[in-house]
């Protein structure tokens, strides 16, 4: 194989991996939008909050330590050596469920029957609140997150691909980050679990029913409030997974909440209501921006990666506003 072809394959592979990371965030949006017609602006912050909480459990941070220290002049920092990763993840999940419950109680319950735009505004408020609250609770410093996933390039893959190039071409092999590979595997597992859940359990069926027709769901005795708690818990879980992956990749910091902005074009591409859409949309954007950067970047001085996704989304808005897999967007009550 020629080096150019190998480079193309490498770029595509890395694009796919990056795309999976976008899909993970987009997935959370889709789940909530499907079940309640709410565009959840806070999804990115949920991921940040989950990652912060996870790190805190892992390292044994005392919540609100800075605040308490400032008021009472104490010297609190850690309550112990921290919890093992598995336990920390479990506890974080519980926190996310509690959060979902609180969101339903304090926000959504009071906004039943309001216009979608009002709910959307509420989620913006929620996003800012959670960001500040997370800051107050766990501190604003950048934290490293290590959940024991492999990271760094794969030497094995490098060796394998080096063989593919022609003798003496000086090709040094492909670089694939192991962390990206694990993220891809986790994402696939997540989608499989979610589809099985929604397809084969009574609760999953109820979720789909609510997504289809609120009124009818009410009429057969499905409680919307319960469903919302469940959906937000699942979205919290997806946010946790996304938070772990992104946090392990680039550290847990407040810019993590901005990944939500990258998920937006993914949603426009894939459609707001389709889980496969979120995945495929993410992959297309990941591959598209990496390829564009590698092949057209040099012509315009680079940085295509930053805006490519939005251009693509814009094109989609013009020609196929419902996205690749989305149903026609119908007003919901």
């Amino acid at each position: 194989m020629s080096v150019a072809l190998l480079n193309l394959i490498e770029t595509t592979l890395n694009g796919l991996m990056a795309g999976v990371m976008y899909s993970l965030v987009a997935l959370g949006f889709v789940l909530i939008f499907k079940a309640s017609g709410i565009f959840n602006f806070a999804q990115g912050v949920l991921a940040l909050f989950a990652a912060l909480t996870l790190v805190a459990f892992q390292t044994g941070q005392v919540p609100f330590a800075h605040l308490v220290n400032a008021i009472f002049g104490t010297e609190l920092h850690k309550w112990g050596p921290g919890l093992p990763t598995f336990l920390a993840i479990l506890l974080t999940m519980l926190v996310m469920v509690a959060l979902a419950f609180l969101i339903e109680r304090l926000v959504l319950k009071h906004l039943i029957n309001q216009e979608p735009i009002i709910l959307f505004m509420a989620t913006i408020g929620l996003a800012y609140f959670l960001e500040g609250f997370g800051d107050l609770m766990w501190g604003s410093d950048v934290k490293a997150l290590d959940v024991g996933l492999p990271s760094g390039g794969s030497f094995w893959w490098e060796d394998v691909t080096r063989e593919w190039a022609a003798e003496g071409s000086g090709y040094y092999g492909m670089y694939v980050d192991l962390l990206d590979v694990s993220a891809a595997i986790v994402a696939v597992a997540l989608v499989v679990v979610l589809s099985l859940f929604s397809q084969y359990t009574a609760t999953g069926r109820a979720l789909r029913a609510v997504a289809d027709d609120h009124q009818a769901a009410l009429s057969v005795g499905i409680s919307l409030r319960t469903i919302w708690v469940i959906v937000w818990s699942i979205a919290g879980f997806v946010a946790l997974v996304a938070g772990i992956m992104w946090g392990a990749k680039s550290g847990v910091q407040f810019s993590l909440s901005l990944i939500a902005l990258k998920a937006l074009p993914v949603l426009i591409l894939g459609g707001f209501t389709s889980i496969p859409g979120a995945i495929v949309g993410g992959l297309i954007i990941g591959v598209g921006e990496k390829l564009a950067e590698a092949y057209f970047g040099p012509m315009v001085g680079g940085a295509i990666e930053n805006w490519f996704a939005y251009m693509l989304a814009l094109a989609f808005l013009l020609f196929r506003p419902q996205g690749l897999f989305g149903e026609r967007i119908i007003e919901r009550i």
Partner: protein, 274 residues
């Protein structure tokens, strides 16, 4: 609070209710009616008379449309409806089949039926047995059990919606406009099944219909609503013979065409607490 349920008391009694939408729009101006155990009662009237609102007040689905019962009360099976949630009502055996079917389009017919059993806690085998029962009443649904409900015909969707309600083991089904958009033959078929369910399963029905003819054929008692008020009620047989009902709702005039000048207006009867 434990209430003794009087078996001779009506299953449902609606006592002089007033319903307001959006805090301003008065839709029901004092409606009273009752459904005896094992009865089929029809609410008749033109568009906008308040039939659907009455049904939704009973099934407690009004709140989802910013409607509110501001006066009067509704008692179902010994319990005050207003203090129960919609899902609690379904659990207690009062379920609504909404106007326009409202099947879950992206779910298969069988999944639709199963959502009807959402509030039940009596185990898979009992639900499976009821599923078979529903298929026995609606053999057509069995043939189409694997297809998405959105792709089935209007008649099949109506059957699906009724079947779904049956899956909750109801004491009473509130049936809103079952004839809407269906061929006369199908309407007849559906009402036949309603009568069957009533006779064999002991399910009571409160149905809202514009098709007065067929409704009075199958119902035992009827109420006629006009702009938010009950203007007439009586046994179905009496209503069928009533000259006014014949003229206004059944489309059989007394003696040929008449001038609009001679059209009679009902003298509205005020109804107080039943």
């Amino acid at each position: 609070m434990l209430q003794r349920i009087d078996e001779t008391a009506p299953l449902l009694s609606v006592n002089n209710i007033e319903v307001i939408y959006n805090h301003v729009i008065l839709v029901l101006k004092g409606v009273s009616l009752s459904v005896p155990r094992g009865g089929i009662v029809a609410i008749l009237g033109a568009n906008g008379a308040g039939k659907t609102t009455t049904l939704k007040a009973v099934s407690n689905l009004l709140r989802a449309e910013r409607g509110e019962v501001t006066k009067g009360n509704i008692v179902f099976d010994g319990a005050e409806v207003q203090s129960l949630s919609a899902s609690e009502l379904v659990r207690r055996g009062c379920i609504q089949v909404m106007e326009g079917r409202h099947c879950f389009g992206h779910l298969t017919v069988e999944e639709n039926l199963l959502t009807g059993a959402y509030t039940r806690r009596d185990g898979r085998t009992a639900v499976a047995a009821d599923l078979d029962k529903v298929y026995a009443y609606f053999p057509r649904l069995k043939e189409r059990r694997r297809s998405l409900a959105g792709y089935t015909s209007g008649g099949e969707q109506q059957m699906c919606a009724i079947g779904r309600a049956l899956m909750s083991r109801p004491k009473m089904i509130l049936l809103d406009e079952p004839s809407m958009g269906l061929a006369p033959q199908l309407v007849e078929e559906i009402f036949q099944i309603v009568a069957d369910l009533n006779a064999k399963e002991g399910v009571s029905f409160l149905l809202a219909e514009q098709n007065t003819n067929i409704a009075l054929k199958y119902a035992t008692y009827g109420y006629i609503l006009e702009s938010g008020r009950v203007v007439m009620d009586g046994a179905a047989a009496d209503l069928r013979e009533n000259e006014d009902v014949k003229e206004f709702y059944l489309g059989v005039g007394g003696e040929g065409r008449r001038s609009f000048r001679n059209v009679k207006h009902y003298k509205r009867r005020k109804r107080w607490l039943a």
